[in-house]
Amino acid sequence: MAETHNMQDLHHQAAVASKVYVQRDYNSGTICRFQTKFPSELESRVDRQQFEETMQTLNNLYAEAEKIGGKSYLEGCLACMTAYTIFLCMETHYEKVLKKIARFIKEQNEKIYAPLGLLLTDPIERGLRVVEITIFEDRSIGSGR
C-alpha cells in the first residue's frame, strides 16, 4: 500500500522528537475513558477539532466494549453455565471491539496523523493507561506528503 510505504519512509527518515501522553479520565468511574483535553505540545501539529474527534470516537468504542446491557448479560450467563469454558472457544465481545479499535487507530494513523509526523499507539499496548502520541521530527521534505 502506498500509504504504508510512505509511513515507512517517514519513520526511517524521521527521529522521535518527543512523546505526549494522554491520561485516563476517571471522572466516570473505572470505565476506560481518555481525557479529551488537547495537549499543548500538539498545538502546532494537528487540528484541535480533529484530535478531539479521534479521542471521542476512541472513548465511544471503549464504552461500547464495556457496555453492560442485554448482550453482555447473555454472554456472562452463558459463560457461567458452561463454567466459563466457552471463553476458550469464543472471542468475547470486548476482544471483538478491541480489534475494531486497533483497526480504527491504524486507519487514523495512516490517513491523518502519519502525514503530520505523528503516531498514535494503541492504548492496549500500554495497558489501557495512556494514549501515547509519538511526535517525529520532520527531517525529510517530501515524506508522506
Binding site: 453492560i68 456472562g76 472471542e91 476482544e95 480489534k99 503516531l119 494503541d122 495497558g127 489501557l128
Partner: protein, 527 residues
Amino acid sequence: MKHCEYQQIDPQALSTPTPTLPPQHAVVEEEKGETARRKWEVFPGKNRFYCDGRIIVAQQSGVLPLTLGLILVTTVLFFVFDCPFLLKHLTVFIPAIGGVLFVFVVISLLQTSFTDPGILPRATPDEAADIEKQIDNSGSSTYRPPPRTKEVMINQQVVKLKYCFTCKMFRPPRTSHCSLCDNCVERFDHHCPWVGNCVGKRNYRFFYTFIVSLSFLTVFIFGCVATHLALRAQGGRGLMFALQESPASAVELVICFFSVWSILGLSGFHTYLVASNLTTNEDIKGSWSGKSGAEDTGNPYSYNNIITNCCSVLCGPMPPSLIDRRGFMPVEESSQTVATEIELAAKNEINVCQLVLCLSVFVCMAHHHPPLGGQLSGLCSVLCWLMSKCTQGTKDLLESASRSPCPQTGKPQTVSTSCPDSIDPADPAVTFNPAVTPDPVAVPSLKCGGRHHSHTTSPPDEPRQQHHHHNRHHKTRSTQSSSKRAALHISNPAYNVSLSPPTSPGLGPSHATGAEDHRRDSFAALH
C-alpha cells in the same frame, strides 16, 4: 482462555499484516539476528508462567495443592463409598449432581488460579518520566518526596489515586499493588493462598463461582453422607455399626462438617460484596463506610441496585488481559530486556537461596523445638512461620538464621517493606503472618513469626501502606487443619495502622464462623 495477540505497532513492521502467526513472526525476528522472546519471559512481576505463557500463577502456589487435594479426596471417597449405596437405595441423580458440582468446582478453581487477575503492566520509562515531570512541576522539592496522590471526582465523590513506586504510575481507582506478586492488580480483592493467585477484576467471577459451587458441593456431600449413614443405621442397628461398615463416610463427614461453616460464611460474605459492588480490600479498609468522618461517603461505584451490581460484577463483559504474555518482544527493547534479565536471574538466585535457608532454618527449628505436647500444632505453626519467612528477603532470613532459632529477645525484626521504589527482588513486603497460635506451647517458636505482627513500619508510611492493602487468608485452627476450607479474609491491622503498640499474635486466630465480625471488631479496635 481465548488468546488474542496484540502486536506492538512497530513502525518498521507496519507493512506486514499484524495478526501474524507466531512462527512467521519468529522467522521475521530471526532474520533480524535476534531470537524471538515472548513478553512473559521478561515479565517484571513475581509470577510464574507455564505452557509458553498461557497459564499464569503467583510466585508461590500457596496451598493450592492442598485445596485441590482435599476436594479430590473427599469427592473420590464420596463416589467410591457412598454413591453405590445411595444409587441403589435412592436415586441416580445423586452421583449425577455430585459429578456436575465437582466439575464446576475444579474448573472454576483452576480458572481462578491460572487466569491473569487483571495485572496492570508497569509504565514504560518514557511514561514514568512524563509523570515525574508533571509531579515535579506541581510538587515540592524535598529530598524525600511526599506521598504522591492525585484526586479525582468519581460520581460526585473525591477519590484519591495513589502513586505506585514500583510500577511508576498513578494507580487507577480500585487498583492495589500486591506485594506477593509484585504487581498492581485492577479491582484488587485479595491475594488468596488457597487458589495460589490474586483475585482481581478478571478472575473474581471465577473465584465467586468456585466458592459458591464449593459450598453447594460441601453441603451436598455432607447431606448425602449423613443420609447414607442414617439409612445404614436404620432398624436399630445404630450409628456405630453404620460407621464400621463405611469408615470413609466418617472422614468425609468430618471434613465437610468443619469446612461447611467457613465456606458458607465466605460465600455469604462475597455475596454481600457482590451485591454492594465492593471489594474485600475496600470493605476491610472501610473506604466507603464513612469511618473517617460524619459525612456519608457512599460507594461511588455502586449502582445502588442489588441486581445491577450483581450483574455488572458477575456478568459484565470480560476484560482482556493487559499484559499480553504471549506477545513477542519488539527488537528495539532488547537492551532494556538485558537489564530485566539480570534482575530476573538475580531474583531466581535469591529464591533458591531463600528456599535453602528456609529448609536449613526449618531443620534447625525442628531440632530445637522443645518436645512438649502438641507436636502437630507445633509443626503446623513452624510450617506457618516458614511460609512467612519464605516470603521475606534474603537479608532478613540471614539475620534471623544468625540469631537463635527461637529468639526470645524483644528486639523487633524490621519488615523491610521499605522503600517501595526499589525494584529489589529481595524486597520482602511480608504480609503473610502466621497468626495461628493454636497451642500456647507453640508460642515460643511462633514468637519469631508473631513478632511480625508487632512490626511497625517506620515513617514515612504512606508508600508502604499502599502495599498492605490486601488481605490475608487465615488458616483456621490447626486442630481442624485437615478440613478443606476457603480461608477468611482479614487484613493485618498492624500494617494498616502505623502505630507503635505491638499487636498481640492473639489477634490472629479468630474462629471460622462469624470471623468477619471479629475482623471488623479487631480492626475497629485499632482505630
